[in-house]
């Protein structure tokens, strides 16, 4: 699933993989988001707007557009 999945709303997720191209992956890495990190799925923009992900490991929150959010593969963290 990805962070936009209805089941992911407001949950604590674990990043399994980032399936985007090198450009996207590098930018997400630079923001401190990498596979293995636990993230909290936060507010969502209306009308297909971005979603806020907060990295629980580093404490960093970022808004990612839908296009990028779809490329983040997550699983609900137990």
């Amino acid at each position: 699933m990805n962070p936009l999945d209805p089941d992911a709303r407001g949950k604590i997720l674990r990043i399994v993989d980032i399936s985007g191209g090198e450009n996207v992956r590098r930018r997400l890495f630079a923001m401190g988001f990498q596979p293995g990190d636990r993230v909290e799925s936060g507010p969502r923009g209306i009308l297909g707007g971005p979603v806020v992900l907060k990295n629980l490991r580093t404490g960093v929150a970022m808004a990612v557009g839908r296009g990028i959010a779809r490329k983040i593969v997550v699983a609900v963290d137990a």
Partner: protein
């Protein structure tokens, strides 16, 4: 600068965006000897000389960079300086409230082997978040001095300067501790050894090898293979080996290891007290990003924003204009119709335009922008507006350059450097000249609001925004989006500090004055000379068909429109001059329809000279001419349409 730099040590301030680096720099520059600043303190570097216990330290503040692999031009500025400036000491500012992420850059910087000091900043914010960092432990883990600072209160600033100077004098370098896993370490060492003796090594062979593995350049075409084909082959081999071992691209192997090292150091040196209840700040944040409430707040913020700017701007403007008018009268009385009178008048107009028309609106706007930025609200606005910007072919990061554009287009275009993709920068820069800046606002207020009523003026603004949206969509057809979208850090909400805001406004103002005033004053003087020579009348004849025929305006206004290029805000004064009337008498010469046509045309037609020059500098000649052509076309079409419809 190279020579004195040997005697006066240079400290380079480097850190991730939003870490409070510039604040710390400014607090330190408070003890300054002298200070020079370059446009847009956040996108270019600032330089200052600081007195520390009888000695002088040169400090350079670089734009924030998340990592040493740059993704936007502001980051590139930072890295170019890091690599080219012979820094005697690096001052790495880290945000203690997000220490784990901040340390990733720190680990990259440690590899440079330069003397280094870490400023552990934002401790107050960290405490609020329940993060307590053990400074001594962190110092031991990193092997470089760590100084606790709270930049907003100026705490630890003196100590930091002393530590930086101490690091220069002792020349102590970070310990060459090998932090990578043995397998990765072996690959790095192997590539470092393979570097030919005459290879232009940056800092040291290890650092160079790491940069080569991590850089986006392919080993087949990059610098290394051009330098020597064997090295290109060695790099390809190293990357392939790392990929084979871990099953992910080589740069990710390094990024992942660094990420985990940083987390490990963070976890070993900090105690985190996780709150179970949401704090008041969290709840406020929920409201600010709420799908309904968030937009209500946003609309309120922007309405207040413009209300305050105009409420503060208008009286200031008339306050400043009054002495200008008497000075102009004095000039006329003294020199009559001589060339001197024209020159002096042009000079006064130029200075007056810069001081009396732009500043009264621009300063309150800068102030409010700084408040919103410092509070962390601009990022939330970017989040809320992203979905709409997306439909226009842009994304949420373009919001703040656009808002700045309402004050003055020049800094707005400079601010597009925060955007990662060239395409987004170009599109945003091409759209900014269509935002009514303070100079054009004065025309809208004077003609539309005064003679037709405030509702018309509001309508004018709304129409302008609609136009902006339409143009953006249109341009997006020719400039297809090349980035998948928004990645925007949402910094923690903070109470802005008045002192810092005042400082920020001052810095931006100085940069604006340095860039725009010479152009404003120069353009104005040129204009006066042309009038003295009587060339304005010939222009009127040439432009007659366009002005009178197409737009239905008095022929005399031709020159006014053309010179709007030199001085947008002069258009109103020039119009009165050209028509030989006064502001109060204007309705006798010009119908309200004509006023609307004139306002539409003047607002949209051609970016002013300062904007044009900035566009040229930032995006190249083609962008500048494209923007000019686009605005002339749009202004003519809309001017004509308005004439026909109204």
């Amino acid at each position: 600068m190279r020579e004195p730099a040997r005697r006066e040590p240079v400290a380079l301030f480097i850190g991730q965006p939003n870490c409070g680096k510039s604040t710390l720099f400014n607090a330190l520059a408070g003890h300054k000897v002298q200070s020079t600043n370059f446009p847009g303190s956040t996108v270019q570097h600032a330089h200052s000389r600081v007195a520390v216990g009888g000695k002088t330290l040169n400090i350079i503040d670089l734009p924030g960079a998340y990592s040493l692999s740059p993704s936007d031009p502001a980051e590139k500025v930072a890295l170019t300086h890091l690599f080219e400036e012979e820094a005697d000491v690096l001052v790495n500012v880290v945000d203690a409230s997000i220490l784990g992420r901040s340390l990733e850059l720190t680990l990259e910087l440690l590899e440079t082997g330069r003397p280094m000091v870490v400023a552990l900043n934002m401790l107050d914010l960290a405490e609020k978040k329940g993060v307590v960092v053990d400074r001594a432990k962190l110092e031991a883990a990193l092997g470089v001095p760590v100084i606790s600072t709270v930049a907003t209160h100026g705490r630890g600033v003196g100590e930091l300067a002393e530590a930086a100077l101490e690091a220069v004098e002792s020349g102590r370098r970070p310990s060459a501790e090998r932090r990578w896993s043995p397998a990765v370490e072996a690959r790095i060492a192997g590539l470092a050894e393979a570097l030919p003796a005459d290879f232009p090594v940056v800092f040291n062979p290890r650092f160079t090898a790491i940069r080569m593995i991590e850089s986006g350049a392919s080993p087949e075409s990059g610098f290394s293979v051009e330098f020597c084909p064997e090295l290109g082959a060695e790099l390809a081999k190293t990357r392939a080996a790392l990929e084979a071992e871990r099953g992910i691209p080589a740069y990710e192997v390094l990024a992942a290891e660094r990420h985990h090292q940083a987390q490990k150091i963070f976890e070993e040196t900090s105690a985190v007290r996780r709150r179970t209840k949401r704090s008041p700040a969290d709840r406020l944040d929920d409201a600010l990003m709420h799908p309904v409430l968030g937009y209500v707040v946003l609309a309120g913020v922007f309405l207040t924003f413009f209300f305050v700017i105009f409420k503060a701007g208008a009286p200031l403007e008339s306050l400043f204009l009054r002495p200008l008018e008497s000075a102009k009268a004095a000039v006329a009385a003294r020199w009559g119709e001589s060339l001197w009178a024209f020159l002096a008048d042009g000079l006064l107009q130029g200075v007056g335009g810069g001081v009396a028309i732009v500043l009264p609106y621009f300063v309150p706007l800068l102030f409010l922008m700084a408040v919103l930025e410092d509070a962390g609200y601009l990022a939330r606005a970017g989040f809320l507006l992203d979905t709409f910007m997306h439909r226009l072919g842009l994304h949420g990061k373009s919001v703040s350059p656009f808002v700045l554009g309402f004050g003055c287009n020049v800094p707005a275009i400079t601010a597009t450097r925060i955007l990662e993709s060239r395409r987004d920068r170009l599109l945003t820069s091409l759209l900014i000249p269509f935002i009514p800046c303070s100079a054009r606002t004065t025309i809208i207020l004077a003609l539309v609001a005064f003679y037709l009523g405030p509702v018309w003026a509001m309508g004018f603004y709304v129409a302008n925004l609609v136009l902006l949206a339409g143009l953006s969509r249109l341009l997006s057809i020719f400039l297809p989006a090349d980035t998948p979208g928004l990645i925007l850090e949402i910094p923690a909400l903070r109470v802005p500090s008045p002192r810092l805001i005042a400082r920020k406004v001052l810095l931006q103002l100085r940069a604006f004055v340095k860039l725009a005033w010479p152009l404003l004053i120069g353009g104005s003087v040129v204009l006066s000379v042309l009038q003295y020579l009587g060339w304005d009348r010939s222009l009127n004849v040439v432009l007659g068909p366009l002005v009178a025929g197409l737009l239905g305006l008095p022929r005399e206004l031709g020159v006014t429109l053309v010179f709007g290029f030199l001085r947008k805000e002069l258009s109103l004064v020039m119009m009165l001059q050209a028509l030989g009337t006064t502001y109060q008498e204007l309705p006798r010469v010009l119908s309200t329809d004509q006023m609307v046509v004139f306002t539409v045309f003047v607002s949209l037609f051609i970016p002013c000279l300062s904007t044009f020059v900035t566009l040229w500098k930032e995006s190249g000649r083609r962008a500048a001419f494209l923007s000019a052509g686009l605005s002339v076309a749009v202004a003519l079409v809309l001017g004509y349409l308005v004439r026909v419809i109204v």
